[in-house]
Symmetry: C2
């Protein structure tokens, strides 16, 4: 793993926050940072050049979606994910394990993020369980055509090797926040066994492999998972689990999850993206984040600003000559006003979502860069 390393440039004195640099074969990632999500090998509505112009350093793609379409083998034949999507900077792929949650128990519990948002599957919503978890791996049906598939930890490693991201994740089971203690423990123990298998199966030398801490909302489970996963020879660590149903507990869950993870390694918080949560998590020692919220909110008309979210479709912006956020240096704010962007949303024009997404991605990135500066100055 000569090509990889993680250096902590500065630690905060008042919290666990730190500024660091992850060195990958496709370039540096300055932390803390937020990875825009490009689920299907594209950050929705944004060109790689536009990401590059904002100095975005890395994007996260979803293994599950790319496995199903166009297929990891196809992407490998086309030269790997970097070449496929024309992104020469670092790429992260998740393990596909989140879909165990979102297509399996998540759906059963009515808290799925994925199936509910897919119109084509509406007929099946809450009527059929899509995923079946065994010790060996996960059986599931494609969200595209309903075809049966199976992914084991070994498969996940092979798929992620074919995709060729710089940072990949061990295969895990992400339980629902509504799962019982008993089930959450079973799933966590399985995730630990899968972590061992993932680490063993991972062959590619120029990829960092991150282990994932699970354990739901339960203190003893989170501590146990932190100890187990933290004791393994991973290149970094992810904190998994849906935090959506127990927002107030997120800080505790983070504390427990991070308890036994080695300080010297990078730590990623999976799928969390609100400004408040991100700032809190940085204080706990989280280095990197990913979440669809900046792009999803942007497409749907909501801009993220320092003063809170802004619904750009609102009638009060009819004649508003101000940019989305005064002082923001993103392409949207420098060049367009709220009145125009509102008009674009009213008219259902593509540019509406493009501009608002550009702003939101820029906003999150700028927030992280500012925090990094503050940490380096000892002011965070």
């Amino acid at each position: 793993m000569d090509k990889f390393n993680f250096k902590i440039s500065k630690k905060s004195k008042k919290s666990q926050a730190r500024a660091g640099i992850i060195n990958t074969p496709h370039g540096l990632i300055h932390t803390p940072t937020f990875f825009p999500v490009g689920t299907k090998a594209t950050v929705k509505g944004i060109t790689p050049r536009q990401l590059d112009e904002m100095n975005i350093e890395a994007v996260l793609c979803n293994t599950y979606h790319l496995f199903l379409r166009p297929g990891d083998k196809i992407i490998k034949k086309l030269g790997g994910l970097h070449k496929f999507m024309n992104w020469s900077k670092p790429i992260i792929t998740d393990s596909g394990g989140f879909q165990v949650f979102s297509l399996g128990f998540g759906m059963k519990h009515g808290v799925s993020k994925i199936v509910g948002s897919n119109k084509k599957n509406t007929r099946n919503k809450n009527t059929e369980q899509f995923a079946k978890i065994t010790e060996e791996g996960v059986h599931f049906r494609s969200f595209i055509d309903g075809a049966k598939h199976f992914i084991s930890p070994e498969d996940s490693m092979k798929i992620q090797e074919n995709l060729g991201a710089d940072i990949i994740f061990a295969f895990d089971e992400c339980t629902s926040p509504l799962s019982s203690y008993k089930y959450t423990k079973e799933a966590m123990d399985r995730t630990h066994r899968w972590a061992i298998r993932s680490l063993k199966a991972h062959k590619k030398k120029n990829q960092m492999l991150f282990g994932i801490v699970q354990g739901g909302e339960f203190k003893d489970l989170r501590l146990a998972s932190s100890k187990f996963i933290g004791g393994m020879d991973f290149d970094g660590f992810g904190i998994g689990g849906s935090f959506g149903k127990f927002e107030k507990k997120i800080k505790n869950v983070l504390d427990w999850s991070l308890e036994y993870l080695p300080e010297t390694k990078p730590k990623h918080l999976l799928g969390i993206g609100s400004v408040k949560d991100v700032i809190d998590a940085i204080k706990k020692g989280i280095d990197t984040f990913d979440c669809v919220s900046p792009t999803r909110l942007g497409r749907n008309g909501t801009a993220i600003t320092a003063k809170g979210n802004l619904n750009l479709k609102a009638g009060r912006f009819l004649l508003d000559k101000k940019p989305i956020e005064t002082g923001c240096q993103c392409y949207a704010c420098v060049n367009f006003n709220r009145a125009y962007i509102r008009h674009l949303f009213q008219s259902e024009e593509m540019l509406a979502g493009i501009l608002t997404t550009l702003h939101n991605v820029y906003f999150m990135d700028k927030l992280m860069k500012d925090i990094r500066k503050d940490i380096l100055k000892g002011k965070f």
Copy 2:
């Protein structure tokens, strides 16, 4: 009109083709050229910066749509169309007259371009006439909310002055290709009277006003319209009419329409955009074009190439590493292959339409620049 002029740089010896320069307050337009269409003050899916990077010199927006939403008065309050859409180069607006055709008789005849493509109005398709034409102007209903509106030639001038484009058009009635000789003549005579009223009503000094030749597919009417409109003090001329139903006649119709137009003034062919038609029309002496086809085709998966149209959704591109068009220097072709763009279309990703639209707009612009070079070299 000091700020405006049209200079013919070079004439072809073998045809009526010419290379020229239209000088507007917002910059030069080198002809022949093709204006991408930004119906609702945005070229669908493309940022002004992306247009500028391709050296696009001018865009055409639709008066009818902007009158209805957000409204020409709103745009005026926001500083005019250039500022509103952040496009500092020349803008052209049509007169709104095409909608007389597409929402009135066009619909009655089932050849509407507009209503048929608007899902919200499907219930009304072919069952109700939306527009009523009187000597005074046109009564019609909004495609957005069904509200009643009226536009006269004087209104069209006022609306286009509020929008503030560099080149505007006289208010005309565009008859259906299925209209009788009798009706086509009536409409043409009315268009001539409206041309007089448009010219009289036009107050703004820093806008070129183009008159429109009509007359359907009938030789004597086209010649009469060419003589009448060509004899008026317009800054340039547009050739109107739907050519869709009589493709073979387009060359004759063009000949008749251009017969009496002064050679020294710029000539625009409204709404025609196929590669073949554009080349034929340049040979007849047409200087500028506009059409939604490059953007509409692009959004829907069809790329325009020198070898014909390419359906990028086709399965045969699954592993195709070639760009849309080999040798093309557009952003899409330099950076992405067909396999990736096909994947984006399969996945219904915004970037699919963005990249293909970028290619199509670049292709049409490059075609025109190449033709211009050939004319200047005396090789066209």
